[in-house]
């Protein structure tokens, strides 16, 4: 799978994003890293031009409640509703359902095992194969709840 890993907003901490990128690389995926401090528009542009299957968003600054839904909205507008969006970083548990509501399929918090990220991507791949909805704009109520 082609996966974009992005750092939206002014958050300058990307150790986590880089570790995730590396884990997915070792899982056999082609991972494109955007670099720090990207706007929602820039991230959508990267997903579009690189024809990514998945987009992973990392935020540790608390701005996820605005940035993640905005990115989901722009992706759908750009015709990328079939892209699977997941997130990670510091996302309080009680703020996650709002993110699932806008089409995100998984949120990974601190302590997530690298294997779990790859299990999630495999599950997405299986669901794509069998035609089940996994994209940000495809509806359905599937979200990742662990292996």
């Amino acid at each position: 799978m082609r996966i974009v890993i992005a750092k939206p907003g002014l958050d300058g901490h990307d150790r986590g994003a880089k570790v995730v990128a590396r884990a997915l690389r070792d899982g056999g995926h082609e991972v494109i890293y955007t670099g720090l401090r990207r706007t929602p528009e820039q991230i959508v542009r990267t997903v579009l031009d690189e024809d990514a299957d998945l987009l992973g968003l990392s935020s540790l600054s608390g701005a996820h409640a605005f940035l993640f839904p905005r990115i989901c909205e722009l992706l759908i507008e750009a015709g990328c509703g079939d892209v699977t969006v997941f997130g990670g970083g510091i996302i309080p548990v009680d703020e996650r359902s709002a993110l699932f509501d806008v089409g995100m399929r998984a949120i990974f918090g601190p302590g997530t095992k690298m294997q779990e990220m790859n299990d999630f991507v495999s599950e997405v791949s299986n669901r794509v194969e069998s035609g089940e909805p996994v994209g940000v704009g495809e509806g359905g109520d599937w979200v990742w709840s662990g292996a």
């Binding site: 997915l24 070792d26 082609e30």
Partner: protein, 306 residues
């Protein structure tokens, strides 16, 4: 992996529709077609575009890791875009020989990549093809040219002295060097330096850059018909406009036609070999030592001894 452009019935029609949209400037259509090209799902015939004619618009940039290829490309992108030109980039990074995965990080150094509408950057993984360049890069570059991009820049993986596969895909090849990369004897060695149409010594703001440039010039002058050697700094912007201008006007290097043809042949050959239906089986047999590579070639390629 998602089917890029559908399969079975109606696929030709889909390709045609996508190509029409891509030519009209729709980025997503071009992105989808590039995926199909990269995955080997469509070729030049099924895409229905002409062979690219050598006109100096597909330019390869090669050089050792860390010399500043991505940063120089970013400078070229902003320069050419502000001149009203549309530029596409194919940025190649290595795939892991173990997992097959890849970390494609060249966009990080190219600010125009996700901001400038005149620019289209696409990352390619080598997918472990020999020569460090996937054979699909040639068609991808041609497709980008057909979709209205005036120039296509191909950034190779950080290469050493002998990786010259880029000459089979690019009309012109630029070798990027930097100061303190060794003494003059490095410039005397055979390899990519002899095939480059232009050499740019990046990091001209650093000490020793002028000396590096003059050593390279001296080494190449002996062979006759030396390529221009420029100084530039992606950091300060010095020399960039001259570099951009010269790139648009470099004549094809004489005497390298046979070397180019050889790389094209090897590239096509590698591609044919690796797309054999039984290639995984062959590799597994070789990996467990049942047969040596040399034996396999002698038995399976009948012309070998004739």
């Amino acid at each position: 992996m998602k089917a890029a452009i559908g399969s079975g019935l109606g696929r030709e029609h889909l390709t045609e529709t996508l190509l029409g949209k891509a030519i009209a400037g729709e980025r997503r259509a071009l992105a989808k077609l590039l995926t199909a090209v990269e995955n080997g799902e469509i070729n030049r015939e099924s895409l229905g575009i002409e062979n690219h004619l050598d006109d100096g618009t597909i330019i390869g940039l090669t050089g050792a890791p860390g010399v500043g290829k991505s940063c120089l490309i970013e400078k070229l992108l902003s320069q050419w875009s502000s001149d009203g030109l549309k530029v596409a980039v194919i940025a190649v990074d290595p795939s892991s020989p173990l997992s097959g995965g890849a970390l494609l990080g060249d966009r990080v150094r190219m600010d125009s990549a996700d901001s400038d509408l005149n620019v289209f950057v696409r990352s390619f993984a080598t997918r472990n093809q020999p020569g460090g360049l996937p054979v699909t890069v040639g068609l991808a570059a041609n497709l980008m040219r057909n979709c209205g991009y005036d120039y296509v820049l191909i950034e190779t993986v950080g290469a050493g002295q002998a990786e010259i596969r880029i000459v089979s895909f690019a009309d012109r090849v630029v070798l990027v060097e930097s100061p303190s990369r060794g003494d003059q004897i490095q410039a005397e060695k055979a390899g990519v330096m002899e095939l480059a149409d232009l050499i740019v010594v990046n990091k001209s703001d650093l000490e020793g850059s002028e000396r590096a440039a003059s050593e390279i010039s001296m080494a190449l002058e002996i062979s006759g018909n030396p390529p221009p050697v420029l100084l530039a700094s992606a950091k300060t912007g010095a020399g960039i406009s001259d570099f951009a201008l010269q790139l648009q006007n470099i004549p094809v290097k004489r005497g390298a036609e046979v070397a180019r043809a050889r790389e094209r042949l090897l590239s096509a050959w590698d591609s044919a070999l690796l797309s054999r239906g039984d290639i995984s089986e062959v590799l597994n047999n070789l990996a467990c030592g049942d047969e040596s590579a040399q034996e396999w070639v002698e038995q399976n390629l009948r012309w070998f001894d004739e």
